[in-house]
């Protein structure tokens, strides 16, 4: 492997790992706080991508404006789904899992019905265009910017959860909802907040990768599934574990793709997951349930 290829794989790994972490973070927060397994989480990513395509590519809005608009809409949709469908199944993993399967089917088919089963291209915004040369490797500015935004979001979320009052409340509810509500925290509001953050993060990931890849109704399937692999590998409920597992999977996919092809790289990810579960049944940083 030449240095040039190494640098390019490195960037691709960090990019795919970062996007995965963005999606998986929301998933792990929702799972931790509400004990709700949302299989439809990848669909928020897809809807975010469609949002940017609709507002930016089709209607010529400013990219940043389109991003904010699409992310907010998906966030509101997320809260609506939480209030309407998931609320009765809080603390109840299986019914929520089943209901999310239904949501997944509906979302995917509804987008397919409205926009067709074709790939839609989102043009690169002007500010993201261009290349940077690093030690012989040509890196697109777009990918670097997306990586920076992703990292900033991950750090921001980490700080939010660890150091703000709302983050503290979220951790409290995730630890013990009954005790938290006795202390005056509104479990309803914290749950909605968690769902909002989760769907916003997934939609942001969709918006950012829209111009790099294509937008299609099935684009949420693979990252949605991978996000679950990330949280299981990292240990459910552990934010640090999610980041580490996301990077591990990103690196396996980024570096494995060149010698073996993308499909075998994905196979390797699953094999790594199964081997990890043999030795650490609760994931890398997970701890046993009380």
């Amino acid at each position: 492997m030449t240095l040039q290829m190494f640098v390019q794989s490195l960037i691709n790994s960090i990019l795919s790992g970062g996007v995965l972490i963005l999606i998986a973070m929301g998933l792990t927060i929702i799972l931790g706080i509400m004990k709700v397994v949302n299989f439809a989480h990848g669909e928020f990513y897809m809807l975010g991508g469609f949002g940017i395509w609709w507002f930016f590519a089709e209607h010529g809005l400013n990219f940043v404006l389109a991003l904010i608009l699409s992310v907010t809409l998906v966030g509101i949709l997320g809260v609506a789904i939480e209030r309407g469908l998931f609320k009765p199944f809080r603390e109840n993993a299986f019914p929520s899992l089943i209901i999310s399967c239904g949501i997944l089917l509906v979302f995917r088919a509804a987008t397919q019905l409205s926009f067709g089963l074709v790939d839609h291209a989102v043009p690169t915004p002007e500010a993201f265009k261009g290349m940077i040369q690093v030690s012989g490797a040509f890196l697109s500015k777009e990918r670097l910017i997306v990586i920076c935004i992703t990292l900033a979001l991950i750090i921001g979320l980490y700080v939010f959860i660890k150091f703000t009052k709302a983050g503290l409340a979220m951790r409290a509810v995730s630890d013990n909802p009954a005790a938290a509500s006795l202390q005056g925290m509104s479990v309803d509001r914290i749950s909605s907040l968690a769902f909002f953050i989760g769907s916003v993060l997934a939609a942001t990931a969709g918006c950012l990768t829209g111009p790099i890849f294509y937008v299609s109704p099935t684009m949420g399937a693979e990252p949605g599934l991978m996000a679950f692999v990330v949280i299981v590998l990292g240990g459910i409920g552990s934010i640090t574990g999610t980041v580490i597992a996301g990077l591990i999977i990103g690196f396996i996919e980024g570096f494995g793709a060149i010698p073996f092809g993308t499909n075998y790289a994905t196979v390797m990810v699953y094999v790594v997951l199964l081997i990890t579960l043999i030795f650490k049944p609760m994931g890398l940083l997970g701890h046993a349930e009380k």
Partner: protein
């Protein structure tokens, strides 16, 4: 009231059995015969899903185990020329063995991990089938799968013969599931779902019992897969995707996981809905997942017991009002 009491589940089963056996003689419509054959395969798989759910686990990889059976039997028949009936059972054992290995890895921990691990497993199998094209034929799959070998001069190849094999498989699988559920093993399975720590304190080996349920379910899934391969004469990774596994979950939940009848009811309703819808002119099948997903959400939200649960509730409500009426009349007299 007396008449109602005589109508036991066993009698209903017998009537359905006779109707199913007589059906090909009454109607020669190959389309319906094929639909019922697919329906029987779906019921076998969904019953397996339900058996696993009895132990409190959700498996979202039943289609993959169906695929393991299908590929196993097809490869043994086409590459080694083994007798297809032996391969039929070997397909079941191969799927059960795979389930056993995976089960011991993933069933040690509670609930969600297993569900997600099975999800990953389904994708893992699909990718292996797609990528290992020298053995599994890649994305194009395997074509020209022969019909089962003849037994005692009876040739299998027509739609009707497949129909009977499928019905036979359905009955043996359902009978087996019924036996299991009404036996001690069934009680052990439900005890795990109800309160696993308590069950373990009473000497139930949690992992082994869960693996057992998983293996039995996957055994039948593998056999159903082998039958599917013969029926279609063609298999490809597209036949055993995650979405298919989700469909078995959907059938089971809509029918109701509490009752043995659930999978059968759920599969029948959900497979005949599209059949009916396709009669509508200018019908767009893209809308199907919306209908399916919508029904799933509604069932989960408003009658978690599924259609069978809903029916049972209606019947008991009816009986209650009847007995109340009876009491009132009695009091009046």
């Amino acid at each position: 009231m007396l008449k109602n009491r005589r109508l036991t589940p066993n009698m209903v089963l017998l009537v359905i059995a006779i109707l199913l056996i007589l059906f090909p003689m009454l109607s020669g419509n190959k389309y319906y015969l094929r639909t019922i054959t697919t329906l029987a395969i779906a019921i076998v798989l969904t019953s397996g899903f339900r058996l696993i759910a009895l132990t409190g686990q959700l498996s979202i990889a039943q289609a993959a185990f169906m695929g393991v059976g299908a590929y196993c039997s097809t490869l043994l028949i086409m590459n080694l020329g083994w007798n297809s009936w032996i391969c039929f059972f070997l397909a079941g054992f191969a799927a059960a063995l795979t389930a056993g290995i995976v089960g011991f890895i993933t069933l040690r921990i509670k609930e969600i991990y297993f569900a997600i691990a099975t999800l990953a497993l389904n994708e893992l199998f699909r990718l292996i089938w797609v990528e290992w094209d020298t053995l599994f034929g890649g994305p194009a799959g395997i074509v020209n799968i022969p019909s089962p070998d003849p037994i005692l001069g009876i040739h299998f190849g027509s739609v009707v013969s497949f129909y009977y094999i499928a019905v036979l498989l359905l009955f043996s699988a359902t009978a087996m599931m019924l036996r299991i559920e009404r036996s001690r093993i069934g009680l052990i399975f439900s005890s795990i779902r109800e309160f696993d720590t308590l069950a373990a304190s009473l000497g139930v080996n949690l992992i082994w019992e869960k693996v057992k349920a998983f293996m039995i379910a996957c055994f039948f899934a593998g056999m159903a897969g082998a039958l599917y391969a013969h029926l279609q004469h063609f298999i490809s990774p597209v036949d055993f995707t995650l979405m298919d596994s989700v469909m078995f979950l959907l059938y089971g939940v809509i029918g109701g996981l509490e009752s043995v009848w659930g999978p059968a009811v759920g599969c029948t309703v959900m497979i005949f809905i599209p059949v009916g819808l396709r009669l509508i002119p200018n019908y767009n099948p893209v809308i199907e997942p919306i209908i399916f997903g919508g029904i799933l959400i509604l069932v989960m939200r408003f009658c978690p017991g599924g259609l069978v649960g809903l029916f049972q509730k209606l019947v008991s409500d009816l009986k209650k009002t009847e007995s109340q009426k009876g009491e009132q009349e009695h009091a009046a007299a």
